[in-house]
């Protein structure tokens, strides 16, 4: 089976080649020089990832959108401190997560009991929505995914949105570093993978 190694840390060494590393890098540089429009490509690329970071922390869709936007606004003041696209991703993920905690605390204080808390039950994800998936493979994946502990679901949901070279950067920013040399599978993905390989619904093409 072919083994795919992802970026081994340090800008410019990622397997995705210089293109992907250079483009956001160039956008960053232009933005630092006052051309903020240059950031819009980076915004489009990273928004889904950041939004899922906030969702995985238990925020509603709208709250997540607000936290993501506020994070980008706060980035502006810090742009000069951020030297590489990997550092940018790490900073944004960390800041979004903190923003999400703050928002969650605030809503908790405003609605101390009852319905609100139910609505904010752990894992705000779509939940079992198996009937909406047309492929048997996807249904199998979704079933096993929901058998994972909540913490694993949150991690995998987020890293799945990350561009592959950012996999390790994102996991690390989430406080779950995977591998010191190259990114390794990690416990959560290993668990899901083992369940799936035992399920003919996934392994039979």
């Amino acid at each position: 089976m072919a083994v795919v190694t992802l970026g081994s840390g340090g800008a410019g060494t990622s397997q995705a080649g210089p293109d992907r590393a250079a483009r956001p890098g160039e956008c960053l540089e232009r933005a630092r020089n006052g051309e903020l429009g240059a950031l819009s490509d980076v915004v489009r690329e990273l928004n889904p990832l950041l939004w899922h970071v906030a969702r995985a922390e238990g925020l509603t869709s709208e709250e997540s959108a607000d936290v993501v936007q506020t994070t980008w606004l706060e980035l502006l003041r810090r742009l000069h401190e951020i030297q590489s696209p990997r550092a940018l991703t790490a900073w944004l993920v960390t800041a979004t997560r903190r923003g999400a905690w703050r928002t969650r605390e605030l809503s908790r204080r405003q609605a101390p009991d009852g319905a609100e808390r139910l609505e904010r039950a752990p894992d705000p994800g779509p939940g079992p929505g198996e009937e909406l998936l047309s492929e048997e493979r996807d249904r199998a994946l979704w079933r096993h995914f929901h058998r994972l502990p909540e913490r694993c679901r949150a991690l995998l949901r987020i890293v799945a949105q990350a561009d592959r070279p950012d996999y390790s950067v994102v996991a690390e920013a989430l406080g779950m570093p995977i591998g010191s040399i190259g990114p390794t599978r990690g416990r959560c993905l290993a668990k899901l993978r083992a369940m799936l390989l035992d399920d003919p619904g996934w392994s039979t093409p």
């Binding site: 709208e62 607000d66 003041r77 994800g125 979704w142 390794t184 990690g186 993978r193 390989l197």
Partner: protein, 161 residues
């Protein structure tokens, strides 16, 4: 034997992550206008700004059958709080009444999407300001610091009227 968790990612792992991303994107997509909101909000001419976070948002009334619909939004910055009330007008536009706390007669800019020009008012001594006949759409507030102050201006997130 090596723990499977310590092995590098292979094609099978990548296939799992790809499908997981696709399923989440399908079942729980970000709001359609998220990119637009962020792009609009950060298209500022000066990087130095204090960000006021959305604290609270409330809507009263339905706007149906002539009933007035009022939306109140509070943004918290470190130096100041901006509270605004948005009321629908009969002509399809909105009126915005705002209040700065602590109060100060500061310049307040309302950013609208191009080609609409920015609108500018100055709050009164009690911190009150108003914008009338504002079209629906995406907007953002900028509150300028007191004259001679070394503080940055205050910016709110962009939101839709």
């Amino acid at each position: 034997m090596t723990d499977p968790a310590d092995l590098p990612l292979d094609q099978q792992d990548l296939a799992i992550l790809d499908r997981l991303a696709a399923i989440h994107t399908m079942l729980d997509p970000p709001p359609a206008d998220l990119d637009e909101r962020v792009t609009f909000a950060i298209a500022l001419d000066d990087l130095d700004a204090e960000v006021a976070r959305l604290r609270e948002q409330q809507t009263v009334g339905t706007g149906a059958r002539g009933a007035e619909r009022t939306r109140t939004i509070t943004f918290d910055g470190e130096s100041r709080t901006v509270m605004i009330t948005i009321v629908d007008r009969q002509d399809g536009m909105v009126r915005i009444d705002g209040w700065l706390a602590p109060s100060a007669p500061l310049r307040v800019d309302l950013r609208l999407p191009e080609p609409e020009p920015h609108r500018t008012v100055t709050a009164d001594a009690a911190g009150r300001f108003a914008f009338d006949r504002v079209p629906h759409g995406i907007v953002q507030f900028l509150v300028q610091p007191p004259e001679g102050s070394a503080m940055p201006r205050l910016v709110t997130p962009a939101f839709t009227l």
